[in-house]
């Protein structure tokens, strides 16, 4: 049975008539055509589907659309503001921190979430929280460099 679900998506209030048990990831990718969040494993093991819900990183393949009712969802598409890239996005570009790019939306959103909640996180703390994001091309070295640079910028150093 469809229900009306209201939430905030990338800063805008939206209302959806949807089967409330459906997965957040697939509602984003199909109903809302926001395809930046990726399916990589379906079990919350790879991080490619990461979005922020009320500023906390969640695996959108493990959450129902019902679970975000009344909350704020931020996806990779919502990170740039008025065409201005987010510091994490900029740092990923400047450090060549990607190859195939499929894991990158999840990486960027998770890293942004960690830094947003605690800009003073040490490198180790950030990387501990990045441990759940997998990258098969193994661009880890550059991703670490990018996150460190973004952290500096977000701290205003």
């Amino acid at each position: 049975m469809k229900e009306t679900i209201q939430f905030k998506l990338n800063g805008q209030a939206i209302e959806l008539s949807v089967d409330p048990g459906r997965q957040l990831l697939w509602v984003l990718r199909t109903d809302l055509e926001l395809t930046g969040s990726k399916y990589g494993c379906g079990k919350g093991l790879c991080g490619a589907c990461t979005v922020l819900v009320d500023k906390q990183a969640v695996r959108s393949c493990r959450h129902s659309i019902r679970s975000v009712a009344g909350k704020e969802v931020l996806t990779i598409e919502g990170l740039a503001q008025k065409g201005e890239l987010n510091p994490v996005q900029r740092a990923f570009i400047e450090h060549d921190a990607l190859q195939c790019g499929f894991c990158i939306p999840g990486m960027v959103v998770n890293a942004y979430g960690v830094l947003l909640n605690n800009p003073r996180s040490s490198s180790e703390q950030v990387l501990k929280q990045m441990e759940v994001n997998l990258c098969r091309c193994a661009a880890h070295k550059r991703i670490v460099q990018a996150i460190e640079a973004a952290a500096k910028e977000m701290r205003g150093v």
């Binding site: 089967d19 459906r22 997965q23 990831l25 697939w26 990718r29 199909t30 109903d31 055509e33 926001l34 395809t35 930046g36 969040s37 990726k38 399916y39 990589g40 494993c41 379906g42 079990k43 093991l45 790879c46 490619a48 996806t75 990779i76 598409e77 990170l79 740039a80 890239l85 996005q89 990923f92 570009i93 400047e94 060549d96 990607l98 190859q99 195939c100 790019g101 499929f102 894991c103 990158i104 939306p105 960027v108 990387l127 501990k128 990045m130 441990e131 994001n133 997998l134 990258c135 098969r136 091309c137 193994a138 661009a139 880890h140 070295k141 550059r142 991703i143 670490v144």
Partner: protein
């Protein structure tokens, strides 16, 4: 529409027929309808260049197909001066979207920013065998550069006519042709309003390495911005009106036969379409998560044959089922070499099945239409897919177009296109566009794994420390990387079974090419064995290798890595945890040094540092090449330490990343890379070579740390503990 002494110029639209006839083998070069072709390219100057023997360079033509030796490469210069390069290659992370654009910009004398690449679209790009084997730069690069050089020559001719200046008094820079009087005309102005095709009657002169201003300079990835904003489209991101998402019934084992299917419960669900066509049973819905839910309502019984073949018993099976061996290298006589040996070491090396596990599972969207079928697929072989889909549909290949958006990792695993052919079948059955996107479990199930393999080596050293003989047999891995390059008077290399290619029949499920196929297994065995010989001879492993090496390129790359690591010679095991390994792949020479720490209680290996030196000839994009080397090292730690498919018969037990463990941030060692500066040498492969040494360099480092030698990949904590207990 006139002739001059140098060439023939025609307005593209008016004189299309004549021009195509002027080019050798036009039908092969342009198999599509010509009007479609013109429409697709749109406005702008189109330069058609006859490129001889590309097909042959790529490893020969495929039987029964329209594969000309004189393949045409395309590029387009728009009215706005923007340059578009067309290649049948695809971008899956290896970075050729940038390095090919660099080549084009270099030869045309335009800014890199003005170049866009169109890749893997079978209607717009010249035929290509597939993106694998680190072949893009080596084999597509030269004709692509030649095409750009020829394009520039045509533009200079056009400018010479427009400015009434002899062409030898013109020069090109920044996308324009300039004369000595300070007049200039941009490429965009030259092509304005015209579609022109012209064929040079002379060979265009290419820029040489000493003239390069873009090639060899680090360039950031051109696809970075769309990939960090989520705008980059992969096959699963394509949407078409009315499309359905399919979930397909899968057997529990590769050997299973379905005996009963009951789809009645799924059929009752609202909006669910069911397709039952022999071996293909699928449920489709406008939302993928609802299709997946509906599949659970499909009941099926399977006949399961018993098999006790598993990841531990597979090696005996591989030895039993391997075909007769083929001697691929030989010199001297082994018996004589063995007589001369003072120390003889014999060992057997084992390597399990390894998954590709790209982050993007196989995905495709097929829209089967009477006039033209379009397939968007994550594939390394779009042209092969075009042919297979046409065959499956019973239509001419011209009726099928494959578009390859960004591919989310391939590593050799996305070449057989099973998911796309499933989508084609389903789209035809339901009359709508259909997306097939494999779940992670399907991805593990249908992956064509790196094959389980066995290597047996017997070798010995004379009292002088010179290797006197080398008897090498590899079963089921394949030939690549099996030939040794040391200076050994008596040697023989025998390859039993092509391994990763289909047809050996020894594996209970699919196997295939995995990044630097065969070479990871062969290099692990060879370089482990060399290390044992060095230790037995009481020599430092680098000194021992240099003593036994005449190959100049190998000596140079080994010396480079030793210098970068500030290597202090000492015989192994030294307790330092330092190891070395070398190898050759795709024309590129690599040498690695690693440092590890072994936890003797848990058996866990932490890799602290890996240094990799690489001789890849001319390096087009050093930034991209470093990225590939770093990725090779980090990805290689997976097959080295944890990655191994567990199975019983045809049932695959690893279905996701909880049990199949790939490298993560906490594994990241310090990685340093050295690319030898060899601009004058031909460009060699860059996407694969640096992964081949990872198994051996870590095995040799573990030995140096502990004195324990491991003969089986991956070197899991249990196996390390076992090796430690055997010292």
């Amino acid at each position: 529409m006139k002739d001059n002494s140098h060439s023939e110029i025609d307005v593209f639209d008016a004189c299309l027929e004549r021009n195509f006839q002027d080019i050798a083998n036009p039908e092969a070069a342009f198999p599509m309808d010509r009007r479609d072709f013109v429409k697709l390219l749109g406005a702008g100057i189109v330069i058609l260049v006859s490129i001889p023997r590309l097909g042959a360079q790529q490893g020969g033509r495929r039987r029964g197909q329209q594969l000309p030796d004189d393949l045409n490469a395309f590029l387009r210069i728009g009215e706005d001066g923007k340059v578009t390069g067309f290649t049948g290659k695809i971008e899956m992370g290896q970075g050729i979207v940038t390095s090919l654009a660099q080549m084009l910009a270099e030869q045309l004398d335009v800014e890199l920013d003005t170049v866009e690449m169109v890749m893997g679209d079978t209607d717009r790009c010249p035929w290509d065998m597939g993106t694998f084997g680190s072949m893009t730069t080596r084999f597509f690069g030269p004709p692509f550069r030649a095409a750009a050089a020829e394009a520039k020559a045509v533009l200079v001719e056009l400018a010479a006519e427009r400015l009434s200046v002899p062409r030898d008094q013109l020069r090109t820079a920044n996308g324009a042709v300039h004369d000595h009087a300070g007049r200039s005309i941009t490429y965009g102005e030259l092509t304005k309003g015209q579609r022109i095709v012209r064929k040079l009657d002379r060979k265009a002169v290419e820029d040489t390495p000493s003239e390069f201003t873009i090639t060899g300079k680090p360039a950031l990835r051109k696809d970075a911005k769309v990939k960090v904003t989520g705008e980059a489209l992969y096959a699963g991101d394509i949407r078409r009106p009315g499309m359905l998402y399919a979930s397909i019934l899968r057997p529990p084992s590769h050997a299973a036969k379905v005996t009963r299917v009951d789809t009645s419960a799924a059929r009752k669900q609202e909006g669910v379409h069911v397709v039952e066509q022999g071996d293909l049973v699928a449920v489709l819905h406008e939302y993928p998560d609802i299709a997946a839910r509906a599949l659970k309502a499909v009941k099926a019984d399977f006949d399961l044959p018993e098999s006790d073949l598993n990841q531990d018993t597979i090696f005996e099976h591989v030895l039993r089922s391997s075909p007769a061996g083929e001697t691929v290298a030989q010199g001297g006589t082994l018996a004589e070499g063995e007589q001369a040996a003072e120390q003889v070491i014999e060992a057997t090396y084992l390597d399990g099945y390894v998954a590709h596990a790209p982050m993007e599972p196989h995905t495709a969207l097929a829209d089967v239409q009477r006039e033209k079928t379009t397939i968007w697929a994550s594939t390394q072989t779009p042209f092969r897919l075009k042919e297979s889909a046409a065959r499956q549909l019973g239509v001419l290949p011209e009726k099928v177009r494959v578009i390859t958006p960004f591919v989310g990792g391939g590593f050799g695993g996305k070449t057989s296109n099973r998911q796309a052919l499933e989508a084609v079948r389903l789209s035809k059955a339901v009359g709508k566009p259909v997306q097939v996107a494999w779940t992670r479990a399907e991805e593990f199930f249908y992956d064509t794994f790196r094959p389980a393999a066995v290597v047996k080596i017997k070798a010995g050293t004379a009292a002088s420390g010179a290797i006197s003989f080398w008897d090498y047999r590899v079963y089921s891995a394949g030939q690549r990387g099996s030939e040794q390059y040391y200076d050994i008077p008596h040697h023989k290399t025998v390859v039993y079974g092509s391994g990763w290619r289909a047809g050996d029949g020894g594996h209970p499920f699919g196997t295939g090419a995995w990044r630097a196929p065969a070479n990871n297994t062969n290099t692990f065995a060879r370089e482990s064995h060399i290390d044992m010989l060095a230790a037995r001879a009481g020599l430092d492993p680098i000194e021992f290798r240099l003593q036994n090496l005449k190959d100049k390129r190998m000596r140079r790359v080994l010396e480079a890595v030793a210098e970068k690591a500030n290597w202090k010679p000492v015989k192994s095991p030294s307790g330092r945890g330092f190891g070395v390994a070398t190898g050759i792949d795709a024309g590129t020479y690599v040498a690695h040094i690693a440092e590890v720490q072994v936890n003797r209680r848990t058996g866990k290996v932490q890799v602290k540092r890996v240094i990799c030196a690489q001789d890849m000839g001319l390096c087009v994009n050093p930034a991209g090449a470093e990225l590939q080397m770093e990725g090779c090292v980090m990805m290689g730690l997976g097959y080295t330490l944890t990655e191994e498919i567990r199975f019983t018969g045809g049932a695959i037990h690893d279905s996701n990343f909880d049990t199949y463990k790939i490298p993560r941030f906490s594994w990241l060692p310090e990685i340093e890379t050295v690319i030898l500066d060899l601009k004058e040498d031909p460009a060699q492969g860059g996407g694969e070579p640096a992964i081949i040494c990872v198994g051996a360099v870590i095995a040799n480092s573990i030995f140096d740390a502990t004195g324990a030698r491991l003969f089986r990949l991956p070197m899991t904590p249990e196996r390390v503990k076992e090796a430690l207990s055997n010292i």
